[in-house]
């Protein structure tokens, strides 16, 4: 085990870095996607409601691995059929898109639930003062929704971090992919996968601890 760590430590760390990079990028895009579709879902416009529901249901109804294959292999080949020859997606790009779409659907549900958890009277009071729907959302409802959302968002962050391992199938050199490489090169799968597992665990447990701390601070602030 020590021998593997000694030889591969910098590759393992850089793979971990790629995992975190993919997670972070996806999370940022997922927040934006989630906010857009959540707002579509809580509004009164039927057409927007429909778009929001279809997106969330469609993306949640497809396994992430299928979505990743679809975007990495399917989309470029589709674009080729349209006559554009040199369109390619890197594994990082395709991975980020797939993971953002997937995480965005769950995020939309988290944000929607957060907005709906705010008492309707808050919106009414704001509107009664003459503030528009958009201003009321931005100044009154969403700031209060965020408090209830934070634990679920952190939870989603952890899920997304673990889901990056699925993207090893499109060849992105993240941690799980590195596990495959090391296991293949050394013929020591037990040790290789144990090391990779522990690395995930350390990061995720650290994150959960931080999350707990933030959660407690928010609850005290109430």
């Amino acid at each position: 085990m020590a021998a593997i760590v000694q030889v591969y430590w910098n590759m393992l760390l850089s793979a971990m870095g790629k995992t975190l990079l993919l997670t972070l990028l996806s999370l940022i895009f997922a927040m934006i996607i989630g906010m857009i579709f959540a707002l579509m879902n809580v509004g009164k416009n039927r057409a927007f409601n429909l778009i929001g529901t279809v997106y969330v249901d469609a993306v949640r109804g497809v396994p992430l691995i299928v979505l990743a294959y679809f975007i990495y292999f399917g989309v470029p080949s589709g674009i080729k059929m349209l006559g554009i020859q040199d369109f390619r997606l890197t594994a990082l790009q395709a991975g980020t898109i797939a993971l953002s779409m997937n995480c965005g659907a769950y995020m939309a549900e988290i944000i929607r639930a957060g907005i709906e958890s705010v008492d309707k009277g808050q919106m009414e009071a704001s509107r009664s003062l003459g503030l528009s729907y958009a201003k009321s959302m931005r100044l009154v409802v969403i700031p209060q929704a965020i408090r209830t959302m934070i634990p679920s968002i952190i939870n989603q962050f952890i899920i997304t971090l673990k889901d990056t391992s699925i993207l090893s199938v499109i060849g992105f050199p993240e941690l799980t992919n590195m596990g495959k490489t090391i296991s293949g090169n050394t013929f020591k799968p037990l040790q290789a996968w144990a090391i990779v597992g522990v690395m995930y665990m350390v990061v995720i447990i650290t994150l959960s601890k931080v999350a707990k701390k933030i959660e407690r601070r928010i609850q005290r602030g109430r």
Binding site: E124, A125, R127, S128
Partner: protein, 246 residues
């Protein structure tokens, strides 16, 4: 009072929720400076009527003209009209993430009615008026129900409204806190504010109202001075209701 200008003109107002017709045919005029109290059993449509006035509920049919503006007209900017209509809710609805003073300052500053400094001065002045200036930096969760409602009144007043709507402002309060809120409302009435109040406080209606409107089943059943409606009701439904609550 009678020759004052008409502040609220409601003509054949109807409101349905799906198949349920809550307001069946309401027509009423309210003059500037008039204090109107709406009485009636629950489910009679009083709150719905009040919420139609600032279009928190959109009217199904009929016309509502406030301060010369037809609020049922889709062309009219309802947000602009609402700036002149203050509303106080049964459950206060103070913004939970803002302090007492911030609650009051939010709308005037965001709607560019005042600078931050002006809004602060105005806010403190209003808080003094409702006896809450010592709690300016408290959060809503830290003050009592009666205090919340007084802040809510101050918040509505910050926009300098021409008319104030009160939707059962004391119904969610502990009995010992009802008085402090009614006192503020009496002061407001004395100051000449046009007020429409939905309440179960018959005593308040008798003392402060210029006119009492008794509603039942989506109609105005009877209206007149408190003398007429509360002390000498003519309609059997009014008599029946007053017998139950007095």
């Amino acid at each position: 009072m009678a020759d004052n200008k008409i502040m609220v003109h409601v003509q054949n107002l109807k409101k349905s929720f799906g198949k349920l017709e809550v307001l069946k045919d309401i027509s009423v005029d309210i003059s500037e400076g008039e204090v109107v109290v709406l009485l009636g059993p629950s489910g009679s449509g009083k709150s719905t009527f009040l919420r139609c006035l600032n279009q928190l509920e959109t009217a199904t049919a009929g016309q509502i003209i406030i301060d010369g503006q037809d609020v049922t007209d889709k062309q009219v900017d309802i947000n602009k009209v609402r700036e002149n209509i203050g509303m106080v809710f049964q459950h206060f609805n103070l913004f939970a993430h803002k302090t007492v003073l911030e609650n009051i300052m939010l709308a005037p500053v965001e709607l560019k009615k005042m600078t931050k400094e002006e809004a602060r001065v105005k806010g403190m002045e209003l808080l003094k008026r409702v006896g809450m200036d010592d709690k300016a930096d408290a959060y809503p969760s830290q003050i009592s129900g009666g205090q919340k409602q007084r802040v809510a009144i101050a918040r509505a007043l910050a926009m300098n409204p021409d008319i104030m709507l009160f939707d059962e402002p004391t119904s969610a309060l502990d009995p010992e806190m009802v008085g402090e809120v009614l006192t503020v409302m009496k002061e407001l009435a004395k100051g000449g504010m046009t007020m429409v109040v939905v309440t179960h406080e018959i005593g308040f209606a008798r003392e402060v109202a210029d006119r009492v409107i008794f509603m039942d089943d989506g109609y105005i059943v009877e209206q007149g001075t408190p003398q007429e409606v509360i002390l000498n009701p003519k309609e059997p439904r009014t008599i029946d209701f007053l017998n139950k609550v007095l």
